[in-house]
């Protein structure tokens, strides 16, 4: 009897059913998760007592003052953004021809196989892929072994190794949206373009590129923000290179200055949000 009453009541109250479904997830995501982000934002105004090591919960702009006045931090910020831009450019230049090949040259029955070949390594462990590049760049590793007969030294661990490894890790995130964009592009448009006398190059720059532009931007959001937030790669193959993310990580870990780390974290958050704001008109965000 009791169960029936619950049933009838739920059946009649659509709002109650939706409320029951939403209660836990909203508590978790909106309150716990967003709340944590808010606590982090506030904590960037706290400081750490250098004598006792305790967090001082009074608000001040000391952390931001340090970030702005000490030259080392602006150098690190510019370097990090430079790496993220370089990774995005490398991935874009590689992904566009690959996507064009898969979507417009390859026969349909081979398409899914090649796409699977692109997708599968995406799921191999991120840490293992990064570690793999350590064996590539290491002293006496694969790259220096290949270059040795030519009398060239490998780049070793450093900024170049970091950029290459990041470009490697995020390449599928660039290929997939661009491929999806190319796949949606009707062949009739391309045929019309060549019927009207345009060369392949002209068709590419005047037809393909403007249409897949939102897809390129969508891919670049991944490569840019993933690069800016990554500190594991730079620790593993970066040698002594300092980027924003590993400065943040070191301030949480060894230095134990959480408020300063939080203040520094505003740089990648701000840059990524700024990037999203700039590209929001391109229609890239509707791709998600």
């Amino acid at each position: 009897m009791h169960k029936n009453r619950v049933n009838t009541w739920l059946y009649r109250h659509k709002g109650a059913r939706a409320g029951l479904l939403l209660a836990l997830p909203v508590l978790w995501l909106a309150i716990a998760y967003l709340g944590s982000l808010a606590v982090m934002l506030v904590s960037s105004l706290w400081s750490v007592d250098s004598f006792t090591g305790n967090t001082v919960h009074s608000l001040s702009f000391t952390n931001f003052h340090t970030l702005i006045t000490q030259r080392v931090y602006s150098t690190i910020a510019i370097r990090s953004i430079g790496v993220a831009v370089a990774v995005t450019l490398i991935d874009g230049l590689l992904a566009i021809p690959i996507a064009l090949f898969i979507a417009k040259v390859l026969k349909p029955r081979f398409r899914s196989v090649v796409i699977a070949l692109v997708l599968v390594p995406l799921w191999a462990s991120y840490l293992v892929k990064t570690y793999a590049w350590r064996s590539m760049f290491a002293d006496g590793g694969v790259i220096s072994w290949v270059l040795k007969p030519f009398g060239i030294n490998g780049p070793g661990f450093g900024l170049a190794a970091t950029t290459i490894t990041l470009a490697y890790l995020w390449l599928p995130y660039m290929i997939l949206p661009i491929y999806a964009g190319m796949d949606r592009l009707p062949n009739s448009l391309l045929e019309a373009s060549s019927d009207l006398g345009a060369s392949a190059t002209k068709t590419f720059t005047s037809i393909i590129l403007p249409i897949i532009y939102p897809a390129i931007i969508a891919g670049s959001i991944f490569t840019f923000s993933l690069s800016l937030g990554d500190y594991i790669v730079v620790k593993i193959v970066g040698g002594t290179t300092q980027l924003v993310a590993n400065v943040i990580a070191d301030n949480v870990g060894t230095a134990g200055n959480l408020p300063f780390a939080a203040a520094m974290a505003l740089l990648p958050i701000g840059t990524i949000l700024g990037y999203l704001f700039v590209v929001r008109r391109s229609g890239a965000l509707e791709n998600f």
Binding site: K3, N4, N7, Y11, K14, R17, A18, L21, L22, L24, P25, W28, L29, A32, Y33, S36, L37, V39, M40, S43, L94, I98, L100, F101, K104, V105, V114, L117, V118, L119, V120, P121, L122, W123, A124, S125, Y126, V128, K129, A132, W133, S135, W145, L171, P177, L190, A200, T203, S225, G229, D230, Y231, I236, A249, V252, G253, A262, A265, P268, F288
Partner: protein, 271 residues
């Protein structure tokens, strides 16, 4: 569009060249795991399975795998419940803030792990320090669950949208109540999407290191943390290669399986 033969060959070379560049480092790690030499040397002088045999001797690997499984199961269980709830709410009801919620679900995976990591770390410290409690295993589970919700949500939502509501309505017209309809109609229809989402969530959690680092208490070490802590030690290099190779093989299979099972055309949770 007419693409010249030369351009086609150029595009094909670039594509397959890049694909081999994607697989090359993984092959190098796999080959290295059969390298009998203790110190790193390339190319391997001979191949042997000596380090594979020593996998269980090395201290730390097995407990780390155990920790990773515990965290993965805990995070997956929470993500399954929360992700399914949101998917049902979003696909079947209209409510205030619906689009905000579907954006909020993506947030924990869209923001860099380090941001989620220190945000949770700060919050945990703010609330646990006054209670004299420390970060532990459950804090890692909370962190992982937060970014795993989205993969379950995506899979279940895609399934629910494809199914429509006619079968459920038919069930209720025939006199079944809400719970019976869920048990006999809805659940069997979404079960494979739940399995696929769960597998992806588990894989995502098993691989995660950044959020883990900032939410793990002292003494809690997951497998990725074990790898990270050991890869800088020259002595441990052979075992790290073995563990890494094992992970490459172990990872690709369940993901392939879940992609086949979901069949909803989603690329999994990573995109």
């Amino acid at each position: 569009m007419y693409i010249s033969r030369r351009a086609k060959i150029l595009l094909a070379t670039l594509t397959f060249g890049t694909l081999s560049f994607i697989y090359l480092p993984l092959v190098v790690v796999a080959l290295n795991s059969f390298n009998p030499s203790r110190t790193f040397s390339w190319p391997p002088s001979s191949l042997s399975t000596v380090w594979w045999g020593r996998l269980t001797e090395s201290n730390g690997v097995l407990p780390a795998i155990g920790t990773s499984i515990k965290v993965g199961l805990g995070a997956t269980a929470i993500a399954l419940v929360l992700g399914t709830c949101i998917a049902f709410a979003v696909s079947r009801y209209s409510f205030y803030g619906k689009s905000t919620l579907s954006l909020l679900v993506i947030f924990p995976i869209a923001l860099p792990g380090i941001i989620t990591g220190i945000a949770l770390n700060t919050t945990f410290h703010t609330f646990l320090d006054p209670l004299n409690k420390q970060l532990a295993l459950w804090t890692v589970v909370v962190g992982h669950a937060t970014f795993c919700i989205v993969v379950v949500y995506n899979n279940v939502l895609a399934r629910l949208r494809r199914l429509g509501q006619s079968l459920e309505e038919a069930s209720q017209d025939l006199g079944a109540n809400i719970f019976q309809t869920f048990r006999y109609i809805t659940f069997p229809l979404v079960r494979s999407a739940l399995v696929a989402g769960g597998l992806l969530a588990f894989a995502l959690s098993f691989d995660e290191i950044v959020v883990t680092t900032f939410t793990a208490g002292p003494g809690t070490e997951t497998l990725p943390q074990w790898i990270f802590n050991n890869l800088f030690r020259p002595n441990q290099a052979p075992i790290v290669n073995v563990v890494a190779t094992m992970l490459i093989v172990l990872f690709i299979f369940p993901v392939w399986l879940s992609q086949r099972m979901s069949q909803d055309g989603s690329a999994g949770g990573r995109l």
